[in-house]
Symmetry: D2
Subunit: 284 residues, 4 copies
């Protein structure tokens, strides 16, 4: 392994970090991750996977371990959920991102996942960060809902310092006094990350707003702000979702969003004086 590079730029000129997961390249393409909040059944997961694949998603998300506010809420299917995700990957070719919440689960969960997610409540779970720092799969590190930019980069640093240079940051909304939205999606963190770090950053407008009607405009805004991708909740039958029902897109809505992202992507390439290369949004 090469000498450690810090999460913060510190004035180095080594370029931005590009992170591969399957055929997806974070930091280069605009990556769209879609899928259900939680893996509920094989049927629900496979059907959703096929639909998001058809609409142009690049990766599949789905939770097998769900950190829930109450201990009496559905906690996820665990290993069974991971096996369903594996099957969905086999059928669609989509790489998988799934959350890990316990340091004891990291090594075996990473057998199933292409990218391991650290959720907002675990951003400063340093034992967990150190553990995912030891594996060779990329880590999607969600911003703590009350975390400053500096603290977030320090958490990425925990993973880098443990030997894993592949950290993808994910903004998912911070907590403010506003109650209309579930959280306040902080899109200004996107350019802030770009000027202070070399790590890729994506945006989760589903958790960031908690409102179905806002996912499309905020996804477009995230791309316009320079994000490297988005992660959205899609469910084959939103009305039956076991969690986050109010923010799950139908496959149709998601298809509409993909079309708009594709148009916006072309326009941004034009803005930046580049001919339209095979972008993430276009070559799916």
């Amino acid at each position: 392994m090469n000498a450690l590079r810090l999460a913060s730029l510190n004035g180095d000129h080594l370029g931005r970090t590009i992170i591969s997961a399957g055929n997806v390249r974070f930091g280069e393409d605009f990556v769209v991750i879609a899928g259900p909040c939680s893996v509920e059944s094989e049927e629900q997961t496979l059907k959703t996977a096929q639909e998001v694949k058809a609409a142009g998603a690049h990766m599949l998300r789905g939770g097998a371990f769900k950190p829930r506010t109450s201990p009496y809420d559905f906690q996820g299917l665990g290993l069974q959920g991971l096996k369903i995700l594996e099957k969905a990957k086999q059928e669609t070719g989509l790489p998988i991102v799934t959350e890990v919440t316990d340091p004891r689960d990291v090594s075996w969960v990473s057998e199933y996942a292409d990218v391991l997610q650290i959720g907002t409540r675990n951003m400063q779970n340093f034992s967990l960060l150190k553990e995912v720092g030891k594996i060779d799969k990329p880590v999607l590190l969600k911003r703590g809902m009350n975390s400053t930019l500096k603290e977030w980069l320090n958490c990425a640093e925990y993973i880098l310092a443990a030997g894993n240079p592949n950290v993808i940051l994910c903004e998912r909304g911070i907590r403010t006094f506003e109650t209309y939205t579930r959280n306040t999606l902080d899109l200004s963190i996107v350019p802030a990350v770009k000027e202070t770090s070399h790590l890729p950053i994506i945006v989760d407008p589903s958790h960031g707003t908690g409102r179905l009607s806002m996912i499309e405009p905020m996804s477009l805004a995230a791309m316009a702000a320079g994000a490297d991708g988005i992660m959205v909740e899609v469910h084959c039958k939103p009305a039956e979702a076991m969690c986050d029902k109010d923010q799950a897109m139908s496959p149709d809505m998601f298809g509409g969003l993909m079309k708009k992202l594709h148009i916006l992507r072309s326009s941004m390439s034009k803005m930046n004086g580049k001919a339209m290369q095979g972008s993430g949004a276009s070559n799916s």
Copy 2:
């Protein structure tokens, strides 16, 4: 005057409010307002006005009364400042938006302004709101930096209830724990306003971020989120600005931003299935 329409939609189907100021139409075109934080001198204001006009701005902003945190900071030129703005308007044709802070000033300041601005600190200055509710010029109502959507719409209601239906909302960042940016620009308020009110909403990324480097990405994101316009600080010589120096764009930077907004605007028209009409950003 017709029967009063509430600021909140309440399920009516009367369409969105379009507000005219000179040849500018808020709620129809994408309106770009640019100019210095404060009117400092005739030379500075005229030069800045000409430059933003040349780059394609639709309106000129400039403060003659500056609400400053400390009583010992520059408080603005007052009437002299308004006369300079009037001259800038004559020379460039750009309508003027300027802030009013005292109910006793409303009637005479409105002689000079095309749009009267209520600043973030005065959002709940109900005496001032009632007073601007009595005039026949549009009002640009900035969101209080700790205001919920509901409170904001109630403040618009104060103006509407007093007889003035022409209120333009302006998001300018809210206060959170994050210290990297001056405020946290809440772009999700744009779709939130669209679904709860018929009033136009624009975004001020200059105060919203307080960082020059973020104004361009956040302006593009604002347009992508569906905003009806932006208001940005431009100064002919940013290094010499008497206030908000760190967030004032040079005319060159502003020109670059206008080009990108124009490209983005075309793409959004395409997204929405409309042929590219003479948009606000294009017909200046």
Copy 3:
């Protein structure tokens, strides 16, 4: 007038500011201000005034101009309300504190008030601050619900700079993500003010918590933290209050609080090695 003293200490050794209103001395005694949120009628106000006087309050509060979130809510009785307060003062001897919200009202409202209150929404209404800076009555300056200590002291500075050295600060809760309470009462601002300013500071637990059950413990905590007084809402018939019904104490509850404050006051004098002098809480 003597040379201006800044609101911030700046290392001077001139001692703390003592402010008189009638026979009440802020910064020396522990001052208890009580009364209804708003003056609703002569009967309600006189009855409440007599009851809080009997229980040991030192000043009477009551709003004649009510800044309300919605323009369609009760806005106060105005001049008629002030005349009722005047009568209550004549009958009970209690000095009056009442809010002023418009710079045009300052001079005539100050004829009726012993202390003029600037509400939380007007903390940065600089026109109003300058106007109350010109009169010779003390000003009770509430902290903006999103205001930092530094901004608050700068607002006091506006009043001092205009010539009025008698500013009493009042903490009334700040806005956070917590929804159980109406605001989050920030008692740590009490020692913070003590170490950065010479101005007296009191605490408003009624607005600060918005919950009747919390007023007593937070009043005791305010005294223990070193506050110079409290301001609480008391209504002769809480269930009939026209505003803030959920946080209005009955005269009985208020009487119970006064007894506890008296006991706590003795204990604090003992702590500070002072014999129990005629304290504010005891000599009413």
Copy 4:
């Protein structure tokens, strides 16, 4: 084991939970926990333990595992630190509270600790909560710095649901826009917990304010608000502390605080109409 009692009151009339740790009884006595932020050496820990014992503390705190913002900061002595704490306990008789951060450490750390602390960053580390729910030692559950009351009680519920009924809540400051203090200590959560839960609640003014000068007034305020105890950082040589140096009390300052708490405690017993029983603060 008896039937599970929920963390929330839900209108039951089973009385408040009393939790024993050694001869200390949370929820009955006012408990003072004191000691260094982290165990740095045997000499530092033993000396500090003896001094806080002499001043009247009831329990010793000290961190062996330190969750630090940066991976390059001192992370604690681990097992060696626990052995030092054990020695301090043998010498002083003070029960020990120490933090655990990893579910894999719970069982062996609980051999050394009388009370296991869950830190603010781990409040929603559900794997860790479930693990401490399986042991028979009390758990001190700090409030997440962005946690609502409801979420906090749900985290306590995770521990109760796993079989451990002995949870002590600890307020340690929440995150707001105010920058003068490290956090905003929310004392109103004390009566809020009292009216919604039967669990004891203590307050940590050291982390809650981050300012040495505020620890005494906020400790007194916490007691006045009805807290069941406080936890404060004391270091035998504050200037040499390896972490949180700016908020570590000297043994002398701590001794002064204990005297004042003792006086206040008497006064509160008097308020509540009780003869002064052998209170926690008095019988040390």
